[in-house]
């Protein structure tokens, strides 16, 4: 049975799109059939991060409105056939999304893939609520900062109230993905500790993604970080998180870059 996952956060810029791409790719690397769906209608980014921006013909809105068929809009990843992207429309806005249309598309995708990963736009408005509407599982992306944590708390409340599952009295599975974690800054008390975040949000942890230039580099190259440099610290964190999502027990660690002597020296000086 296919799983519908929403990647959400409330706050913008915490790494929803990056995490959608990296987790989608990681699940595919673990042998799963995956589609990532961009719900950020009007401000689409997932196509860029996935490196598919030059192959977009039809989009989510076209499919919900019946202008295009789903297979026409899906873009298969060139690196891994098991991974597909359903892009958002850049020329429309969130009002173009209808609940009925989204429901139809998600149901069709569930027939075709093992995982349907919905990349939510920031905010708590229509785009975000429709992205989470049909989710079985939610991944809440949080930075260890108070503003991000409070917005995540808000989103968790909305997940418990406005999803189809919640309205049926069931529970959406919720996982916390802490991104942009900087152990050095956390040690100096400049950001919230993992314990603080977990205590405030009382939601189980899916993974801790360390702050890394690799993430930015991968995004700019249009390649999810797990493809671009699978041995890098953030890639290992995402690959582990994907295995946890698949139900495997994986010990929780914060992967760090292996640094040579000089690297350590400069790393410390830079920090």
């Amino acid at each position: 049975m296919a799983k519908v996952v929403v990647v959400t956060s409330g706050k913008g810029g915490v790494g929803k799109t990056t995490s959608t791409a990296a987790l989608g790719a990681a699940l595919a690397q673990h042998g799963q059939n995956v589609v990532v769906v961009d719900f950020d209608v009007g401000l689409r980014n997932l196509d860029l991060v996935m490196g598919a921006e030059r192959r977009v013909v039809y989009d989510l809105i076209n499919v919900t409105q019946g202008i295009a068929k789903l297979p026409q809009a899906l873009i298969r990843d060139k690196r891994l056939e098991r991974l597909a992207l359903l892009p958002a429309s850049q020329t429309r806005d969130k009002d173009a999304l209808t609940e009925e249309g989204v429901s139809r598309v998600i149901n069709s995708l569930k027939q075709m893939f093992d995982w349907v990963i919905c990349d939510s736009p920031a905010g708590i408005e229509r785009g975000a609520t429709l992205a989470m509407r049909f989710a079985d599982t939610a991944i809440i992306v949080t930075n260890p900062e108070v503003s991000s944590v409070r917005d995540s708390d808000r989103i968790i409340g909305i997940l418990d109230a406005k999803t189809v599952k919640a309205e049926r009295g069931e529970r959406v599975d919720k996982h916390l993905l802490i991104s942009r974690y900087d152990p050095a800054r956390a040690a100096r008390g400049e950001m919230l500790s993992i314990e603080d975040v977990l205590e405030i949000l009382s939601t189980p942890l899916l993974g801790i993604i360390p702050e890394s230039e690799e993430v930015l580099r991968a995004s700019n190259l249009g390649s999810p970080v797990t493809f671009n440099n699978p041995s890098s610290a953030p890639a290992r964190a995402y690959l582990d998180a994907a295995r946890r999502l698949m139900g495997e027990e994986v010990e929780m660690t914060i992967p760090t870059e292996k640094q040579g002597f000089l690297g350590k020296l400069f790393g410390r000086r830079a920090a």
Binding site: I124, E125, R154, I200
Partner: protein
Amino acid sequence: MTSVANPRQSPRFVCRSYMAVALAPEPPLVDWIADIEQKIRDTGSFLVGPPVVLDLSSVKLSKSAIAHLVAQLEQRGVRVMGVENVDPSQMDTALPPLLRSTKRESADVSVPAPKARETQREKQQQVRETRSAPATLLLDKPVRSGQSIYFPDGDVTVLGSVGSGAELVAGGSIHVYGTLRGRAMAGSNGNARARIFCTKIEAELLAIDGHYLTADLMDMALRDRPVQAWLEGSALKISALD
């Protein structure tokens, strides 16, 4: 409560208590109205002008009879701002609103139908008690940021934390078995004896019966500790429980 789709900050609801004159009509009503008329003549303006609440506990009146009574009083210059102790089924929007006195048991109020609209589900997690249930609202999940729990009928107990930006409003006391990071307003309909208890305080605002204290004004030494808050005169006091 506004819908979540509204990006603006939702309006704040403040509960205040006021003094009002309560009039309890007694049968036969014709004589009672004559008495009132006599009183107005004798005492001058005592009943004319200030807000008056009609306590209908000793009479049983239909909707039209209530409307007639209100009209009769208004003719004599008595302004009825609310009605109490009447079956809600006898009320409609043309009549002054139904009030509930804090001293009385509110158990004889019938249960309003739950609102099915999805936009209200998140915010309106308030629960109206049924006839037999005690006036306590128990929440066994954390209260998340942006949620507003409004329970004017009694105490609110939360098993879990109250997130920053969440809001609890209770007619009675508030008990939080977890960290209180949001706002807690107890005794919202004029109950100065209400208290607030929590196992860890990081609250943004505490209020009892309209007297409030913001985080800025709270003693930093109490932060992160189990505390209770109560009202002493018009001063909100907080003390540690450990």
